[in-house]
């Protein structure tokens, strides 16, 4: 806290020259209109911060401190316009003087120029809320709740609170998006394991029953439960006639895999799948044809990337130096204007995800069967399967990436895969599998356990990755939750204090006829409601039923 001792204002705002000794006392400035009362307030703010709020901010586009700070008669001589403020820093019990000229507002002369005084000055500059014009006050009184919340947060320099909340939220959202992809990979691995184990539903009891049937055939002890390191083929190497050395096609497994792929190909031809793709393709094409939306979408993507790549010092596009707060405020302001197009994009992305998942499942199924190709007595060329699987994986990746939109449309326009070519090759493989001599029960059981274990391990890997990502999401969500809890409570306390102090001041000033005046600030997410009750009729916004006189009184 400081107490002003003396102030010298020269050729500044509406004042030619004013020297006042305030002696560190409280003071009020009064006088007829146009005599420079506001100029004194501007001078104090200018001396302490180098800024004049009335000449900056919204609606003051053509006004600047340099051009409009000096007295109108000295407007071309900013070097002559200065304010010298002598004050006492109460905590340090020390007196200091700060002098600023309009010509060089960022280079004040401070006497004494030591660290303690400088630190005190910096602290004051962080709190510009000490200067509020009547125009600003009425703005807080009459603003809509969402605007009021924004204005009050800016006044209290709370932008950083919102910036940190935004970043935490963004990280949570990004990690959640990653979970979706890992969930899909886990689902693909699970389906593949279910096929291999010949079970119809995912149940430990069913798995143990099927696995133990094969283990009994091979003379292996039954498994009692499935733990994180359980192996279906435990003891297999020791079992008679059960060596794993020969690379061969597990006939029973291959038949099941072929059936599974056939089923997936049939699903591609189902009406609902075709219709769903057609509708989404039309919406994507319309979105792409709307040049305005497309431009905005590209712009939105650029701004999001800029926020991500910004290193707290330079713009990632043009290398211009930016202060973090200013850069983020500017980019976020631009992003606000693109909210509608962003929402449209997110809805489309959500509809596309099931298609991407189908492609990934189909690609995995093709990959599984492609592995059998070289194992036949006369190897079968499975390049078609490999090529189609790669095509589908690339398409799925593009669908998940979404931008550039033209690439996503292209991925949609192309056939999901060359079904005819796949069917021809699948028939060839199926025929070759059928021709494999029927293996003994022991070989079938051995193949079952080996392949089942391979797929179990893949499922475990996918599950582990998913679990890690879920832990990350849980961690960041908890941090975000705690942040919201603490910030809301703290802001509520601040608003409650303001509410009480404001009500008490109003009652004192208007004690003759409005001593029961009540005021209520109601904060909620992104809003700050304000209600006043002059005569016990209930709380209403200041602009609702009250006269301009009352509104001025509240200001």
């Amino acid at each position: 806290m400081i107490r002003i001792q003396k102030i010298h204002i020269h050729e500044f705002r509406g004042i030619r020259d004013l020297n006042v000794d305030l002696g560190g006392e409280n003071f009020a400035v009064c006088g007829p209109n146009g005599t420079g009362k506001s100029g004194v307030v501007d001078a104090i703010e200018f001396a302490l911060t180098g800024n004049i709020s009335r000449l900056s901010g919204r609606g003051t586009g053509e006004l600047t401190v340099k051009d409009h700070g000096p007295h109108v008669a000295s407007r071309s001589k900013p070097e002559q316009a200065f304010v010298a403020l002598t004050f006492k820093i109460v905590l340090l019990n020390r007196e200091a003087t700060i002098t600023r000229t309009v010509e060089e507002p960022n280079k004040p002369t401070i006497t004494p120029d030591d660290a303690d005084v400088k630190a005190a000055m910096e602290h004051i500059a962080q709190h510009p809320e000490f200067v509020l014009s009547r125009r600003e006050l009425i703005q807080y009184v009459l603003a809509e709740p969402s605007k009021r919340s924004e204005e009050v947060q800016a006044l209290l320099r709370l932008e950083k609170i919102e910036a940190l909340r935004g970043t935490l939220q963004k990280i949570c959202n990004a990690e959640n998006k990653g979970i979706k992809q890992l969930e899909n990979s886990q689902e693909v691995a699970k389906k593949s394991l279910i096929t291999a184990l010949e079970i119809t539903k995912w149940s430990t009891a069913d798995i143990l029953t099927e696995v133990n049937k094969r283990r009994v055939i091979l003379g292996l002890p039954e498994l009692k439960e499935i733990e994180k390191d359980t192996s279906f083929k435990d003891g297999l190497a020791m079992a008679a006639g059960s060596t794993e050395t020969a690379l061969h096609i597990p006939k029973a497994q291959a038949v099941k895999d072929i059936e599974a792929l056939q089923k997936l190909l049939d699903e591609l031809k189902e009406k609902t799948f075709i219709e769903s793709r057609t509708v989404i393709l039309k919406d994507l094409t319309d979105f792409n044809a709307d040049i305005d939306s497309l431009g905005k979408l590209t712009h939105e993507n650029l701004l999001q990337s800029a926020l991500k790549l910004y290193d707290d010092e330079h713009c990632p596009v043009c290398d211009t130096e930016w202060k973090p707060k200013e850069f983020k405020a500017l980019v976020n302001q631009k992003l606000q204007k693109l909210v509608a197009v962003k929402e449209k994009k997110e809805k489309l992305e959500k509809r596309i995800l099931p298609i991407a998942s189908s492609l990934e499942i189909l690609a995995a199924s093709l990959g599984t069967i492609a592995k059998y190709g070289p194992l036949f007595m006369t190897p079968i060329d499975v390049q078609t399967f490999k090529d189609e699987a790669k095509k589908m994986t690339d398409s799925a990746k593009q669908l998940r990436t979404f931008l550039p939109l033209t690439d996503t449309i292209e991925a949609f326009e192309n056939d999901v895969c060359d079904i005819a070519a796949i069917k021809t090759k699948l028939d060839e493989i199926n025929k070759a599998v059928t021709e494999i001599p029927e293996p003994s029960l022991q070989i079938v059981a051995r193949d079952y356990l080996i392949e089942g274990q391979v797929r179990l391990e893949n499922f475990r890997t996918q599950s582990s990755q998913l679990k890690t990502c879920q832990a990350v999401v849980e961690h960041s969500t908890k941090v975000l939750g705690k942040y919201g809890e603490v910030v809301t409570a703290e802001l509520n306390d601040i608003y409650k204090n303001v509410e009480t102090t404001f009500r008490n001041f109003y009652r004192i000033i208007n004690k003759d006829d409005e001593s029961k005046f009540e005021a209520k600030l109601t904060p909620s997410m992104g809003k700050l409601g304000f209600g006043v009750d002059f005569y016990g009729y209930g709380f209403f916004p200041p602009g609702a039923y009250h006269s301009e006189g009352h509104q001025d009184g509240v200001s």
Binding site: L156, K160, T167, I171, V472, K482, E490
Partner: protein, 61 residues
């Protein structure tokens, strides 16, 4: 404890300081709170990279 050099000055920093104390008091979040304090209050950064590093550790983000 916040040392004198890094004592929060602004209303924002004071609120964030309280959040970090509350977070640090949660079991398993002590290190995260300490890293966030360093990034947000001392380095004065709220960039995505800085906050990711603080949340998950620089080797895990």
């Amino acid at each position: 404890m916040t040392d004198k050099k890094h004592e929060p000055q602004t209303v924002s920093d004071k609120i964030i300081d309280k959040f970090l104390y509350a977070l640090g008091a949660e079991k398993g979040f002590e290190d995260t709170a300490a890293r966030l304090r360093k990034k947000v209050l001392e380095d004065k950064s709220t960039s995505e990279k800085a906050i990711r590093d603080a949340l998950f550790g620089e080797n895990n983000s």
